[in-house]
Symmetry: C2
Subunit: 400 residues, 2 copies
């Protein structure tokens, strides 16, 4: 684990309640606009509040979105959220931190509640990515990364993440089969999630025989570009009682940063940003990795999830392959990871992803996850990485 860098100033007890969580189905939502998705996620979130909630109780909001709608290029900023919801009398901040935007929006919103500025706040993540062909989507992404000299030389997302996979294989004997099992697991989990984009099982053979995208990642090692939105409502622990007898609490949050240029990296077999975020979140929550019962991890590519097991301390360094072999991250295993289906099967609408992870943990810690429920889940963790590891956010939740 990364040493140094952790600077949680005052270890004052951090506790913010989650009293509602809702999301759209993730997938190809051609029949919904960006605003439609936001409204649906918001309504689902309001509906999830056990004792009901008056919309007027919401005093501020945060929007997580990276590219908004690829086809339309939003006027981003807070108004993109306020207008479709009619929330014009409250402040709305837009957070953008690459694919970790959703989790960082929850982190900032929770700070405002802890600061006493507001009691009850809303966080929404949304992204509309499928309205343009994949090539156009790639071009849009290239726009974001075009100043990086290595990008026009083929450094797409699968290539950059694939480098980590390759280095991990070289250093620790990890195999493509190990990575494939992440996809197999998450597709299996996804069959139990009505909100998941892909709800079919796949086999290790299918993953290995799929067209290669960028070594060692084939088509089934990559998560899909996705449309979707998700929302959560945060409040103080005191105020939470008005809304539910079963709140979930955010008890720790950490954000890590790394260099923007991959070639300046200190290592290719791990993500220092992951480790920094996890260290800060564990310290704030006062827990160790062992105490995590259920986790939603950022499996944008299969190798990302496997390396993340190690970065978060779920298994020893270099043992990610062995851990998935052992069944550890499967539903029913030692520490189930991505029982929602993860980015791989549930989908990855960038700004919505971190918020949707919180939605899953909300269900899990309340025992409401149906067929994919992790037994006796008390502590849940979400992990959301952005760029090629330039940013990582870890949030830790508890049901007591």
């Amino acid at each position: 684990m990364l040493e140094g860098g952790l600077k949680v100033a005052r270890q004052k007890s951090f506790k913010v309640a989650v009293v509602g969580a809702g999301m759209t189905k993730f997938g190809e939502l051609f029949d919904q606009s960006y605003e439609d998705m936001i409204v649906e996620a918001y309504r689902a979130c309001l509906k999830s509040v056990d004792k009901g909630i008056d919309e007027k109780d919401i005093q501020a909001a945060w929007l997580a979105t990276v590219q908004g709608s690829l086809i339309r290029r939003e006027l981003l900023s807070g108004t993109s959220l306020a207008e479709p919801l009619g929330l014009l009398s409250i402040p709305v901040t837009r957070i953008e931190n690459l694919c970790a935007s959703g989790s960082d929006a929850i982190r900032n919103a929770a700070c405002a509640v802890m600061a006493g500025l507001y009691e009850t706040v809303l966080v929404v993540g949304a992204e509309k990515m499928r309205d343009v062909p994949s090539r156009a989507s790639l071009v849009a992404n290239r726009g974001v990364m075009s100043h990086l000299w290595w990008h026009p030389r083929g450094a797409t997302a699968p290539m950059v993440f694939g480098q980590i996979g390759t280095a991990h294989m070289h250093a620790y004997g990890t195999t493509r089969e190990h990575f494939a099992k992440v996809a197999v697991k998450n597709h299996y989990h996804g069959t139990f999630n009505p909100h998941a984009f892909y709800r079919f099982e796949i086999t290790v053979e299918q993953v290995l025989n799929a067209p290669l995208v960028s070594w060692p990642l084939g088509l089934y090692d990559c998560c899909p570009t996705t449309d979707g939105a998700a929302a959560v409502i945060l409040t103080t622990p005191e105020r939470a009682r008005q809304y539910t007898d079963r709140p979930v609490y955010l008890i720790g949050t950490g954000l890590g940063i790394d260099v923007g240029h991959s070639h300046w990296r200190s290592t290719y077999t791990e993500w220092p940003a992951n480790q920094q975020a996890a260290k800060e979140a564990y310290a704030m929550a006062g827990i160790t990795p062992r105490e995590v019962d259920v986790a939603e991890l950022h499996d944008c590519f299969t190798c990302t999830e496997l390396v993340t097991y190690e970065d978060l301390g779920f298994c020893e360094k270099g043992r990610g392959g062995a851990w998935i072999e052992s069944g550890g991250p499967w539903l029913g295993g030692e520490k189930p990871c991505n029982v929602s289906g993860g980015l791989k099967a549930k989908g990855h609408p960038v700004g919505a992803t971190g918020v949707a992870q919180a939605c899953e943990i909300f269900l899990q810690l309340r025992g409401e996850a149906g067929q994919r429920q992790v037994a006796n889940a008390r502590i849940g963790l979400t992990h959301n990485i952005g760029g090629a590891g330039q940013v990582s956010c870890v949030n830790i939740y508890s049901n007591e």
Copy 2:
């Protein structure tokens, strides 16, 4: 003033210290990259800390930037700030809320300090806009707004703000001369500011005779597209004593939101978002507009500043023209506004603007503003509007 909507949950005393503030010169910084500007502003900020500061004391940071570098299209997100400064062991969040991004970044950073998550944090705003010709800059802006149906029909920024000017003229008898005086005043103030883009005086005649951009706004009614960066360091009042005997305190912050589409506006003679932000900030600070000694206002266009006098309660509704006639907002007047030169003369590098406003108030409340010092300034206000009034942020500072 707008009624309803104010929901400051707990009127707990809000107080976050500013112990350092620094900025680049604003202007055409062709010899500096985006990163160069960030480094210069950061170094100037560190240097401004009276008793010095160890960089390791900075525990988290926020970056305000809207388009990053127009020529290069940044990989935005926290790493855009962390990498040039080598701040890779602390969390960095990027805030984007149109032209109000800088002030909203200060608002979010202050929440994290108030929440007790961190003691000492950094806020940087930066924008690199002049490396492309004006036409390319307009195209980039069109990208942001292209989904608004009225945009391809000529609704540029001067046109949208000009609508408010026109409506105000119609409703209250305000004249182009009144607007022109805002430019004359801010150019005069700018001559005293070594960091200002334009340091020359202009006359009412020059403003009125300049080429018309969009009625009633001529060339001299419009602020320039600008390069620049600015930085501030925030900490707890307790910790501040280690860094300075003369901290400035952020004592109130408010953010207002309005509809994204101008044609859905409830009014064209004022900005409800301004009024909402001001109301929240005044309530949190426990002051009235009368107590404000010096203000930095968002004069992207001359009419914006004039209407803002009214929205913030500096003068009565409809009396903005009379108030500037009276000399009220001039240096030496009742309540000097934009003694830095404002966006009009100092410049408007979008993400940096709100942070630079805080830099000016820092100097003013410490009595360090030289020839442009407002005598006995105790309470300072910054006002930062985004889009065409879709978002507004008001921050209030005190020197005690």
